[in-house]
C-alpha cells in the first residue's frame, strides 16, 4: 500500500443504536411500572397458544398487553385480541427478528401507566433474536417436545441470552417418545442453572408454575 495508515482505537458496540434504544425503553418501562417479558422460539413451537392462555390468566390480576412479531400476516394479533387485552402486531416484512425501535413504534399511543405487564412475542427464529436487546426484563426461550431434546445444543446462543426455558406441548411427550432427562441435560449443558418449566398450553398443565415464577419476578422488580 502506498499511503501511510495509522490505527485509531474506537471500541464501541456494532449494535450501539439498538442497545441505546433498548436501554432507554427499559428505563421508560420501569418509570411507568411495566414489567416486560419476551418470548423466543422456532416457528411452530407454541408461542401463540402459550400467550393466549397466559394473557387470560394474567388479566385477572394484572393490566396486560401483548406485541406479536411476524414477517407477514396479522393472524396472531387477531387471534390474541379475542382474549380482550390490547394486542398489536409487528409485521417485520423481510426482517427475521424484532429490534428495539420496532417495539418503540409498536407501543406508540399506549398509556404505559395503564399497564403492568407487556408480553412480546418475537418472530419464530432461534438464531437472530439472540443478538437484539428489546428492553425486556425477562426473556423466555420455548421449545416443544416435538422438536427434539437437543434443540439447546443446536442453538446455544439463544439459550445463553434467556432467563428461563419452557418446554411446550408436554401433552404430546409420550406420543413422540420425548426424553425429558435428555432435554434437561441439553439445556443445562449450554446454560448451567437455567430455570426450566414444563407446560402444555392445551391442557394448561404447568402454566400455574410459570405464572407463579413470573409473579415472584414481578414483585422483586
Amino acid at each position: 500500500m502506498n499511503t501511510q495508515t495509522r490505527l485509531v482505537e474506537v471500541r464501541t458496540k456494532i449494535l450501539k443504536k439498538n442497545d441505546e434504544k433498548a436501554r432507554a425503553l427499559r428505563q421508560r418501562f420501569h418509570t411507568h411500572g411495566v414489567y416486560v417479558v419476551s418470548l423466543v422460539s422456532s416457528p411452530g413451537s407454541g408461542k401463540t397458544l402459550f400467550l393466549e392462555k397466559v394473557l387470560k390468566r394474567l388479566s385477572s390480576k394484572f393490566k396486560v398487553a401483548a406485541l406479536v412479531g411476524d414477517l407477514a400476516t396479522e393472524n396472531d394479533a387477531t387471534r390474541l385480541a379475542r382474549s380482550g387485552v390490547p394486542v398489536r402486531q409487528i409485521v417485520t416484512g423481510t426482517v427475521c427478528h424484532l429490534e428495539a425501535d420496532m417495539v418503540e413504534n409498536a407501543i406508540d399511543g399506549w398509556d404505559l401507566d395503564d399497564l403492568d405487564v407487556l408480553l412480546i412475542e418475537n418472530v419464530g427464529n432461534l438464531v437472530c433474536p439472540a443478538t437484539y436487546d428489546l428492553g425486556e426484563d425477562y426473556r423466555l426461550v420455548l421449545f416443544s417436545v416435538t422438536e427434539g431434546e437437543d434443540k439447546p445444543l443446536k442453538y446455544p446462543t439463544i439459550f445463553n441470552t434467556a432467563d428461563a426455558a419452557i418446554i411446550t406441548k408436554t401433552d404430546l411427550a409420550t406420543a413422540v417418545e420425548f426424553r425429558e432427562d435428555i432435554a434437561l441435560q441439553s439445556v443445562h449443558s449450554v446454560r448451567p442453572g437455567l430455570p426450566v418449566f414444563k407446560v402444555s398450553s392445551k391442557t394448561e398443565s404447568g402454566l400455574d408454575e410459570w405464572i407463579s415464577a413470573l409473579n415472584t419476578r414481578y414483585n422483586d422488580s
Binding site: 500500500m1 499511503t3 501511510q4 495508515t5 495509522r6 490505527l7 485509531v8 482505537e9 474506537v10 471500541r11 464501541t12 458496540k13 456494532i14 449494535l15 450501539k16 443504536k17 439498538n18 426482517v95 427475521c96 427478528h97 438464531v127 437472530c128 439472540a130 443478538t131 445444543l153 446455544p156 446462543t157 439463544i158 445463553n160 443445562h188 449443558s189 449450554v190 446454560r191 448451567p192 442453572g193
Partner: protein, 114 residues
C-alpha cells in the same frame, strides 16, 4: 440470517465515526464473539455486499473471532469452556457460573490514512 442487517448497521456506525474524527477509513477491525449469534464468514460476505453502494466500497473488514470464556466458581478464576454446547470448566470439569467473554460484537479500531 441477520448478518446483512448487522453489516448495514456497522457501515452506518463507521461512517459516523469517520465523520466525527474527519478521517479516511481504509479498514475496520471488529471482534465477533462465539456466542454473539453472528457467523463471521456470513458477516464478511454481507460486508462485501453492503459496502458496494456506499462511500466505503473499498474499506476492508478484519474480523477477530473471540472464543467463549467462562468463570468457574470452583477454580475461582476465568476458564476456557469445553465448547459452547458444554459449559464445563476445562480445568476441573465443574459447570461454569457465567460467561465472561464470547458475546462481543464490537468495533475495536479503524485503520485510517494519515
Amino acid at each position: 440470517m441477520h448478518e446483512l442487517s448487522i453489516a448495514l448497521q456497522l457501515i452506518d456506525q463507521v461512517q459516523e465515526l469517520a465523520h466525527q474524527r474527519n478521517v479516511h477509513v481504509v479498514a475496520v477491525q471488529i471482534q465477533v464473539g462465539e456466542l454473539s449469534g453472528v457467523v463471521c464468514e456470513a458477516l464478511q460476505s454481507a460486508w462485501e455486499l453492503a459496502r458496494k453502494a456506499t462511500s466505503m466500497s473499498e474499506v476492508k473488514l478484519d474480523i477477530e473471532a473471540v472464543e467463549a470464556v467462562g468463570y468457574c466458581g470452583n477454580c475461582q478464576r476465568e476458564t476456557e469452556i469445553a465448547s459452547i454446547q458444554l459449559h464445563q470448566c476445562l480445568q476441573c470439569g465443574n459447570w461454569i457460573e457465567r460467561i465472561i467473554r464470547g458475546h462481543e460484537l464490537d468495533i475495536i479500531a479503524l485503520q485510517v490514512e494519515t
